[in-house]
């Protein structure tokens, strides 16, 4: 579990599973620096996305990671990979 890298494709898959995709939002586009808000995900969708990541990767995110700290896919991917690295060491 813990030697996995968390990628943008992993995030796309989990977003779709947890909350679907807004009409007019192309998750396949270059979304790394587009805010979750602009992508159409409100706080509850992000809470559910965070819970899915935690379950699949066996890590724990802070409650406000997705709602205040990691507001874009790039920031979230970085945070998740830091947690994965910490869990490995």
């Amino acid at each position: 579990m813990t030697d996995k890298e968390f990628t943008l494709d992993d995030l796309r898959r989990i977003l779709l599973q947890a909350a679907g995709a807004d009409e007019g939002t192309d998750l396949g586009a270059d979304i790394l620096d587009t805010s979750f808000d602009l992508l159409g995900y409100e706080s509850l969708a992000l809470l559910e996305t965070g819970a899915c990541i935690e379950r699949e990767y066996g890590i724990s995110l802070d409650d406000d990671t997705l709602t205040t700290d990691a507001l874009t896919p790039r920031a979230l991917i970085k945070t998740v990979n830091e947690r994965l690295a910490a869990a490995r060491s």
Binding site: G20, E23, G40, L44, A45, E48, A51, E54
Partner: protein, 407 residues
């Protein structure tokens, strides 16, 4: 025109029923006496005393809703969102052309999103709390249909939910009419219920009023001497209400008018005092400025439980005279849809007025003691201007609504 007695028009219908998805299919089936009651397919009912339901076949939510809404909605909310879309399209309304504060949503609910809740409880017990969906926070809730319709169409005016079992369907329409009269130009209103899932089923069985017959044509027999309880179903209807003059001014087709409403609560069981249903009917007639002789058809509640059928038959006979008004129970083809039943009956009444026929009550061989002019076996041609819809909820709720044909 607003004000306490301003006419309020129905301009759109959205229907999801066990015998028809969409108003056109529902009406074709209902006028033809086609029942949607059968053995449950949504789960294996073999371990339960009641095994029949009115299920809606062929509803694929992904065909009707964006993927964003699927992980966060119960089946009942998906049906309600589709029905709201159909009702607005039927009314010729583009919500984006209204001020958000000029549109509201008032629904009724009997159970909320039960199947969603069941799934999350199963995750909680089998896998742990971290597996429970964040969307459980609202997806189960009674007000969820109002909330999701409001969000989807940007309707931020007066909104809410009414919870009074089967009577709630009329209570919601009455609240919507109140809000239109107080100045809101458009309200989406009505109800759908859908909890044909094991958890929902055991909750419904607790009433002790469900039929345990396994024969779809013998299980739910309102006003029959062999009445033995009811068969539940899923679905209902949503309506678009507008001030009648504004609707005409925008060129809308007026399907009819919500002309009168009355509601009462029955005395406590064992008090020896009679049901107040007749009062609810009289209040609704007075509110509509209608005499009993003006009513062309009664869409009865049709509990299918002998003592409740008797109470309703007595109330109808007392208000209208024995056998003096045509009575029908189209829900004999759908099962009882809880809050969804009465809005579906109101939609049915409006469709019946347009077609000039009264849809039948199926499967019932009426008990002669009740002395009702039940429309049986097949539709009866009739010129219909005024209909009365009756809805009674568990716990003593009685509601009655007078509906008039559009011009």
């Amino acid at each position: 025109m607003t004000g306490a007695s301003a006419p309020v028009a129905v301009t759109g219908l959205g229907v999801a029923a066990p015998n028809g998805l969409g108003a056109a299919d529902y009406w074709a089936a209902t006028r033809g006496g086609k029942s949607g009651i059968g053995r449950i397919t949504r789960f294996d009912p073999s371990g339960y005393p009641a095994q029949l339901a009115g299920e809606i076949p062929g509803f694929d939510a992904a065909e009707h809703l964006p993927s964003r809404l699927l992980p966060q909605t119960d089946r009942v909310t998906r049906l309600a969102l589709a029905a709201a879309d159909w009702a607005l399209a039927d009314a010729g309304v583009a919500p984006e052309s209204f001020d958000p504060l000029d549109m509201g949503v008032v629904t009724a609910s009997h159970a909320g999103g039960f199947e969603f809740g069941q799934g999350e409880l199963q995750k909680l017990w089998a896998r742990g709390s971290q597996f429970v969906s964040a969307y459980q926070s609202f997806a189960w809730f009674y007000a969820v249909n109002s909330g999701q319709i409001s969000i989807r169409h940007g309707m931020k005016g007066p909104s809410g939910v009414v919870v009074s079992d089967q009577a709630g369907g009329l209570d919601a329409l009455a609240q919507a009419r109140r809000q239109v009269r107080k100045g809101t130009p458009l309200i989406v209103t009505g109800a759908l219920d859908a909890s044909v899932c094991p958890w929902g089923w055991v909750a419904q069985l607790a009433s002790g009023r469900m039929s345990t017959s396994a024969e779809p044509t013998r299980a739910y027999l309102p006003f029959d001497r062999d009445a033995r309880g009811y068969v539940p179903g899923e679905g209902g209807a949503l309506l678009v209400l507008e001030p009648a003059d504004a609707a005409r001014a925008r060129g809308a087709r007026v399907l009819g008018e919500i002309a009168g409403y009355g509601a009462t609560i029955d005395p406590a069981p064992g008090s020896g005092r009679p049901s107040t249903l007749r009062t609810a009917i009289r209040v609704a007639l007075d509110d509509a400025g209608a005499a009993p002789g003006d009513v062309d058809v009664v869409f009865a509640d049709g509990a299918g439980v002998p003592e409740l059928d008797r109470t309703e038959a007595e109330a109808v006979s007392e208000v209208f005279g024995s056998g003096r008004v045509a009575v029908t129970v189209p829900k004999s083809m759908t099962g009882r849809l809880y809050s969804g039943a009465a809005p579906l009956d109101v939609a049915c009444a409006l469709l019946a007025m347009r077609a000039g026929v009264i849809p039948p009550t199926v499967h019932t061989d009426p008990c002669p003691e009740y002395d009702l002019d039940l429309v049986l076996y097949q539709a009866r041609p009739a010129e219909l201007r005024t209909a009365l819809v009756v809805a009674r909820g568990h716990g003593g709720f009685n509601s009655a609504m007078v509906v008039r044909a559009g011009e």
